[in-house]
């Protein structure tokens, strides 16, 4: 029986994994080895709505989390300039799924009833609520409950501190602050133990590699290759900045803003205490200096800060790819040690949550059943990575921008994964449906594809309707959405005001 799990790495991935496993499997001893010599990457500031369930499971109160991690509420992503690059080029990918109440084809209803209204506005009231800068809940709603679906914008370093503290005090996770100097193997190829500089040998039954880009166990020890995805995802540089708000009571954005640039895109994330902004670009199309100029120009337009030229920038190199296998012998990679892709849909932490969840679901586990679990894990996560790559690519292939070579090349046929090509062909005649995505816990539901597809003005061919479309039902649902905007905008506070109230009064548990 697997009784002791050793997690290598104390970033967001390591601590989330430790928290989820320790909270769910109390009979298992969890040890986390964190190097005092290695600093965490500390970006990755956007989460999915799944984070609410994750934090709740770990046993962290939402009040504490919001106060400690500079967190704000994220209701989705807003894409600016991705389709045409003109002034009115904006679409939303909200977290709240299209709602019809009963089965019907909302896409058909939208085309029929209000084709000139943006798709996301017709099928969900969240884009309008987000554009008004409103929070997804009010102070009288319980922790982790919302009137609209939401995730968070957060300070990843502070999340690490909060999780580390909670895991040690409440969940009995042991931390060894030491550097791993050697990996000791058993005869069957398993990792038997880790040798540390000052704390001796750390033995375990299952080792989880959360060592980040260095991928100490899966990459370096087992030599599992990265499957390069740079053909589909060309961005290889990040310039990141922490930007102070210009006001004491800032208007905090409800969505991650993703603005298309000449050779990539800029993320703009509103935390409660500052913004996190970063330019993700391809060095093949723009040099670092020109990228920095574009980023500073962007920051000046935001005009929230007077001394834009003094804001410090951090550069990171990134490469899209994932390991051929995430699980080998008694060792599994979670987080950047398993793979990396640009943060366009904030999939990084979501994949961490899914990975830890799958491990806890498969517990209790023996060394023998681990072989089966490993195969399933590898199959599942390879599929999930493929889907993430495809879904991110979708944001580029529908663009008609031709102002730079970057955007022209971004939709060249050889840069599009086959799976995505097939789907795009099918979607010329019908809307994306759950039949296109049949795995349990798909990373992105068909609704996400619809939001991007129709948000970017994808034109389907003239076809015929079907009886099951039930267009009238869909039209009623769309009308209800329009009404709900008014109703909810009266009841929901601004993000800053809610966060302020949470700081003072806290949210109730019930």
């Amino acid at each position: 029986m697997i009784k002791k799990i050793v997690i290598l790495g104390g970033g967001s991935a390591g601590w989330l994994t430790a928290g989820l496993i320790a909270a769910e499997c109390q009979a298992v001893e969890v040890v986390l080895v964190e190097s005092p010599e290695v600093s965490t990457i500390g970006v990755g500031e956007g989460t999915w709505p799944t984070m609410r369930n994750t934090l709740n499971k770990i046993g962290i109160s939402e009040t504490e989390f919001i106060r400690d991690c500079s967190a704000s509420f994220k209701q989705g992503s807003k894409f600016i300039g991705w389709t045409t690059g003109r002034g009115d080029d904006v679409y939303h990918h909200p977290f709240t799924l299209p709602s019809s109440g009963t089965e019907c084809n909302l896409v058909a209803a939208w085309r029929n009833y209000c084709p000139n209204v943006p798709f996301s506005e017709a099928v969900s009231f969240q884009s309008r609520i987000s554009d008004l800068g409103l929070a997804p809940k009010n102070i009288a709603m319980a922790e982790y409950a919302g009137a609209l679906n939401y995730g968070y914008h957060l300070d990843a370093d502070r999340l690490g501190v909060l999780l580390s503290d909670h895991c040690q005090r409440k969940l009995g996770v042991t931390v060894i602050r030491d550097h791993v100097t050697q990996v000791n193997s058993a005869e069957n190829g398993d990792v038997e133990s880790l040798m540390t500089k000052n704390s001796g040998i750390v033995q375990g039954d299952l080792f989880i590699d959360c060592s980040g880009g260095r991928s100490l166990l899966i990459g370096q020890h087992y030599g599992i290759k990265l499957i390069d995805q740079s053909k589909y995802s060309v961005n290889d540089r990040v310039l990141a900045a922490r930007v102070p708000y210009g006001s004491e009571r800032p208007d905090i954005a409800s969505m991650t803003m993703a603005t298309a640039m000449s050779a990539g895109w800029i993320w703009d994330i509103g935390l409660s205490t500052r913004r996190g902004v970063g330019y993700v670009y391809s060095s093949a199309y723009i040099d670092d200096e020109a990228a920095e100029n574009e980023l500073r120009e962007y920051l000046k337009k935001g005009a929230s800060h007077s001394n834009v030229d003094e804001i410090e920038l951090r550069q990171l190199r990134i490469a899209a790819g994932y390991r051929e296998k995430m699980w080998v012998n008694n060792c599994v990679a979670i987080g950047m040690s398993a793979g990396f892709i640009e943060p366009l849909e904030a999939s990084a932490l979501a994949l961490v949550e899914l990975s830890a969840k799958m491990i806890t679901n498969e517990m209790p586990m023996t060394r023998k059943t681990m072989e089966i679990v490993a195969q399933r894990f590898n199959r599942t996560f390879r599929y999930r990575w493929e889907k993430v790559v495809e879904f991110l690519k979708l944001h580029y292939v529908l663009s008609s921008r031709s102002d730079t070579q970057y955007w022209i090349d971004a939709r060249s046929p050889e840069s599009i994964p086959d799976g995505l090509n097939d789907l795009l062909e099918l979607w010329r005649y019908r809307a994306p449906s759950s039949y296109d995505f049949q795995s349990v816990e798909e990373v992105f539901p068909s609704a996400s594809y619809q939001y991007v597809l129709y948000g970017m003005g994808f034109r389907a061919n003239e076809t015929f309707g079907k009886k099951s479309d039930r267009v009238e039902v869909g039209i009623e649902a769309i009308k209800r959405n329009f009404e709900l905007v008014g109703k909810f905008s009266e009841r929901l506070p601004k993000n800053f005001d809610l966060i302020e109230k949470i700081r003072v009064h806290g949210l109730q548990k019930i």
């Binding site: 009288a140 709603m141 109730q508 019930i510």
Partner: protein
């Protein structure tokens, strides 16, 4: 708009207050915030439920007089009950504190809302000050009530915090069909979960008994039988109209 003034025996020498309970004095209210010191009197008359303050999300205890906004089923020619909550009785006065120079302790002062319908304009009602400028017994009672309420805010917070810590609060759905088929349904309110209260271990019960919390919990549970009284009053009104 309220017009709040600091009460004194010069400007308000002739002030009289309409203490009768009438619709025109603002008594058509469906409920009022109550404090722990009132539970023993309140629970014999009205249902006590808990509700979140919409500005802070914090729980507070409420006594109910009606089902709809501005419906007070106890209000006829007079307020037909043996106890009226402090929040209503102290009207139109408010408590305030003033820091006087040379004194370290702030002193309590009384404010009055001169735009309240309770301000008498026809020479009837209760006088606030005696002819010699001293307080009337009425004003002294009001002052006492204001002090109780002021202390009640803290004891209310403490009570709710302990109920929540012990996981005793649960949401309740009220789903009532009156005799004329009219319906009332809400899940805005909370109450004490009886099973959880009974399931507490001995040391928790002993601690609750000592602090008085146990009695408050039982009174809140006991008060729920008054919902039936409230329904009867509602139906009596419905059959009259």
């Amino acid at each position: 708009m309220p017009r709040i003034e600091l009460l004194n025996n010069i400007n308000h020498k002739n002030l009289r207050i309409n203490t009768a309970k009438k619709k025109e004095f603002g008594d058509s209210v469906a409920g009022a915030v109550i404090y722990p010191f009132e539970f023993s009197a309140v629970h014999k008359e009205y249902p006590i439920l808990f509700q979140k303050d919409e500005n802070t999300g914090e729980f507070q205890a409420i006594a109910f007089f009606g089902f709809e906004e501005n419906e007070n089923l106890f209000l006829g020619d007079d307020w037909e009950a043996n106890y009226i909550p402090a929040v209503i009785r102290r009207e139109p006065f408010f408590i305030g504190f003033q820091q006087e120079s040379g004194s370290s302790e702030p002193t309590m002062v009384v404010h009055v809302d001169m735009n309240s319908p309770r301000i008498s304009t026809d020479g009837t009602g209760q006088p606030v000050f005696l002819d010699n400028g001293g307080n009337t017994d009425y004003l002294n009672e009001v002052r006492e009530t204001l002090v109780h309420m002021h202390n009640g805010i803290a004891s209310s917070k403490q009570m709710m915090a302990q109920f929540l810590d012990l996981d005793l609060i649960e949401r309740v759905t009220l789903d009532i069909t009156f005799r004329n088929e009219a319906k009332f349904k809400t899940d805005m309110f909370y109450t004490i979960n009886k099973e959880k209260l009974f399931g507490l271990n001995e040391s928790a019960v002993a601690a609750m008994h000592k602090s008085g919390l146990l009695q408050l919990a039982y009174m809140a549970i006991d008060s729920l039988s008054n919902i039936k009284t409230l329904i009867k009053r509602k139906e009596a009104r419905l059959s009259r109209s």
